[in-house]
């Protein structure tokens, strides 16, 4: 028996580690994805004043603090039984879409994109954001930086700071938007829409016109037939900020559609002794282990899952891009994991169009930004679509609004089982006779990078890839050789 350890030494809601066990023939027997990180928010939030949760749970993730901020704020609306003002909803949704667009764009250019734009087998030294810029042009590089800066300025204007935003209150937001700010938001929205059209054009030119890449996306190595979950509006269109949660089965048929308050009827979590992360599954199908198909409760979330679980996009350009994607990939649902990258760009375009729509709404600058609660708090649930999937916050309080129980299901928890399955499948398909080359490593890495499982790794891996270290051991635990990406 040989053991291969892939230690990314970077974040996956903390830090992730892949262990691959080879059999005597050198083929993969089993693979494990471990998350060796836990901080205990569910416990230590007990005793806190509920209204502080938007300012505490942001620290779960400094890359997507806005998602936690918004889920917490919506849980407070529900807890205090107060409907936000119309303007407050628009301010929140605008900020939220600015965040989604920024996060998705960054992921594509810094992390996921290099594999396609530069190529999955390109030298590691080129397979990074600089490589993308070299291929797409310097001007494109400047645009990436500029669009990120502008979108983050929207977050700054509304919520004080992009890392650890501060504006959510039950029933509204803390600060009104000025006309001057609204003008800037319109400009940024226009810029972001143009940028996303450019990014999809780039995807078209570089990926879709290359048969090898198309084969890779549509091939069997990166494919799992699972259920899909995502939030939709009243027309079953994708919505990041509000709506019902819809689940489709592996054939694309609606399996469930529920209000956030009903989540416990639908979502359960499984515990394994070898990981600090919990594995989500559909309660009504049940936990059948780490397997896909109709009989297994494993479902997927995040861009491709959201598109699969919806009837399309609520904005015109994104709807066009959505239709084109499904036309090329053969209709809904698409099970190909690498299509997450494409779906991410479609969503970034939707988020940008939505920013522009909301910014053009004159009601955005109304001073009517908060409804004060009058009900006694007891229990509240808030759900949003984080960039990496459906995010649930569930609070119970005493009558003074002090938390007695907290339950958090984070985006990566929903995807934890499928990410691991994707890694295992890629490893089993690619590693034979103990051959673990640098190229194979990147191909395995691509299986989980498609999910953008880790926030920090998505945005901070400046070279555009997670650092990997692989150790190959013989049956007695002796080190045969050590491989490091980029050597």
């Amino acid at each position: 028996m040989r053991k291969v350890t892939i230690d990314p030494i970077t974040r996956l809601e903390g830090h992730g580690k892949i262990e691959i066990f080879l059999n005597d023939k050198g083929d993969v027997d089993k693979a494990y994805l471990q998350i060796p990180e836990l901080r205990g928010f569910e416990k230590f939030c007990e005793g806190r004043a509920a209204e502080e949760m938007p300012r505490i749970t942001t620290m779960i993730c400094g890359v997507c603090p806005t998602a936690h901020h918004m889920a917490a704020t919506k849980a407070l609306d529900d807890l205090f039984k107060v409907e936000p003002t119309s303007t407050a909803k628009k301010i929140r949704e605008l900020m939220y879409n600015a965040f989604q667009a920024e996060d998705h764009i960054l992921h594509f250019f810094f992390l996921g994109g290099p594999d396609f734009v530069v190529g999955p087998t390109a030298p590691a030294a080129e397979r990074n954001v600089l490589g993308v810029i070299a291929k797409a042009g310097l001007e494109a590089g400047g645009k990436v930086i500029e669009v990120r800066k502008r979108l983050r300025n929207i977050m700054r204007a509304i919520a004080g700071k992009p890392v650890m935003p501060t504006c959510g209150l039950p029933g509204g937001v803390s600060k009104a938007v000025t006309e001057e700010e609204r003008e800037q938001f319109i400009e940024t929205g226009e810029y972001a829409v143009d940028f996303c059209k450019f990014a999809l054009g780039l995807f078209d030119d570089i990926v879709l016109k290359n048969k090898d890449y198309v084969d890779l996306v549509t091939g069997d190595v990166y494919k799992h037939r699972t259920y899909y979950m995502g939030m939709v509006d009243e027309n079953n269109k994708v919505n990041f900020y509000d709506g019902k949660i819809r689940v489709v089965d592996p054939n694309g048929k609606e399996f469930a559609k529920f209000r956030p308050q009903e989540y416990l009827d639908h979502v359960s979590e499984h515990v394994e002794p070898w990981s600090y992360v919990k594995f989500c599954y559909l309660k009504k199908v049940g936990w059948k282990g780490f397997v896909d198909g109709e009989d297994s409760g494993i479902y997927r979330v995040a861009p491709l899952a959201r598109l699969n679980a919806s009837d399309g996009m609520a904005t015109p350009l994104a709807q066009e891009a959505h239709d084109k994607m499904y036309e090329i990939l053969g209709g809904k649902p698409v099970h190909n994991t690498l299509a997450f990258h494409w779906a991410r760009l479609v969503e970034a375009l939707y988020a940008s169009e939505r920013v522009l729509e909301l910014a053009r709404d004159p009601e955005l600058t109304s001073p009517d930004i908060v409804n004060l609660p009058t009900e006694t708090p007891k229990e509240g649930i808030g759900v949003v679509e984080a960039p990496r999937g459906t995010l649930f916050h569930h609070y119970q309080t005493d009558e003074n609004g002090v938390l007695t129980k907290v339950n958090l299901i984070v985006a990566t928890g929903n995807n934890a089982a499928p990410i691991w399955m994707s890694v295992e499948k890629a490893a089993k398909s690619l590693i034979h006779k103990g051959e673990v080359s640098d190229g194979i490593l990147n191909m395995i890495e691509m299986a989980f990078r498609a999910y953008d499982p880790c926030h920090a790794c998505a945005t901070h891996s400046l070279p555009g890839r997670m650092p990997l270290e692989v150790s190959v051991y013989d049956s007695k635990g002796g080190l045969i050789r050590k491989l490091k990406r980029g050597e």
Binding site: P36, E42, E51, K175, P273, K278, L462
Partner: protein, 329 residues
């Protein structure tokens, strides 16, 4: 001359400190030009043995963020201490324990029970909880030990300087890097931020009454928050008087009161105790002599979560440190 070697490392943190480094924008290139980054797990390949191979003190400065909760974090920061001339605790978690430090209100057993057995979405009839070692038939899987208590960096290794904030703002990061490069550093142990309290530089300072008196504590959802008036004058708890300045007043500009992420002002050890005495001194100051004990009690009870408010970011570094553990736990 060889460029100074610099390391970045993270412990129990959220990635926000890395995000704020990326928010340096074009300045990050200046930094990358001036130094040789030998360790940055998010951005660069590295091996622990590369660090082990360096001479003692060979790294000019290590910036370490996050609080310390896991065995492997403790091992890594001890190694970095040995190899580094200077160690800077970067951000509120390394400086004060930060939000994860609130874990010191509880312990490992309670955290595990809640997360893996008690939450309403968990289906775990056999009561499985994560183990440091699991035999999975084909081999063994390991997880790092999870400690009962969250520690600050300075409680784990000697620290030379502190960069406060959740996260530290880009301008203070640049100031600190430039000071290190030029060798113009203040006395060891210093916090690399202004000494004044946030209250003194607050854009709302002029609306703060000379004699502050809170007749009734208000929670942020109970009133429409005035966007220009001092929060304390509105009855809202604000940590501004007990918190160091330098943050750029970002929360206040978003019309939300301070929660203290920059830690205590110069010369104060326990930020929470300082804040509590500040609050006590202004509660019901007008008409204090006419108040009954019940009135006073009611007024104080207006603070929903006193410990979690005044020690929001600093519990681990406080004189309290943590909630007392039961015997044998």
């Amino acid at each position: 001359m060889a460029k100074p070697k610099v390391a970045f490392y993270w412990c129990a943190s959220c990635g926000g400190c890395e995000e704020t480094v990326v928010d340096l924008n074009e300045d990050i290139l200046k930094v990358a030009d001036a130094v040789d980054i030998v360790l940055w797990p998010v951005a660069l390949d590295f091996k622990r043995k590369d660090i082990e191979a360096l001479g003692d003190g060979e790294i000019a400065v290590s910036f370490i963020n996050g609080s310390v909760r896991l065995e492997e974090q403790e091992e890594m920061v001890k190694l970095l201490r040995q190899k580094s001339g200077l160690v800077v605790a970067f951000g509120a978690c390394a400086h004060l324990g930060g939000i994860p430090g609130l874990g010191n209100f509880t312990n490992r057993e309670e955290i595990f029970n809640r997360a893996y057995k008690e939450t309403p979405s968990v289906e775990n009839p056999e009561g499985v909880v994560p183990q440091e070692k699991t035999d999975i038939g084909v081999g063994e899987l390991t997880l790092p030990e999870f400690y009962d208590t969250v520690k600050t960096l300075a409680q784990t290794i000697p620290v030379d300087y502190y960069l406060p904030g959740c996260p530290p703002p880009p301008n203070l990061i640049m100031d600190a890097v430039m000071a290190i490069l030029k060798g113009e550093l203040p006395e060891k142990g210093s916090v690399l931020a202004p000494a004044k309290a946030l209250c003194d530089v607050c854009p709302r300072a002029e609306t703060k009454p000379d004699k502050l008196s809170i007749a009734e504590i208000k929670r942020p959802w109970q009133i429409k928050i005035d966007p220009e008036q001092c929060f304390l004058a509105q009855g809202l708890i604000c940590m501004g008087p007990a918190t160091r300045s330098g943050c750029g007043e970002t929360c206040i500009k978003a019309n939300m009161p301070c929660r203290g992420c920059f830690g205590p002002v110069e010369g104060v050890v326990d930020q929470g105790a300082k804040a509590l005495s500040m609050i006590a001194s202004i509660l019901g100051l007008d008409g204090e002599d006419k108040m009954s004990d019940d009135d006073v009690k009611k007024l104080i009870e207006g603070i929903a979560d006193p410990a979690g408010t005044v020690y929001r970011f600093s519990l681990a570094s406080s004189l309290l440190g943590r909630k007392r553990m039961k015997q044998g736990v």
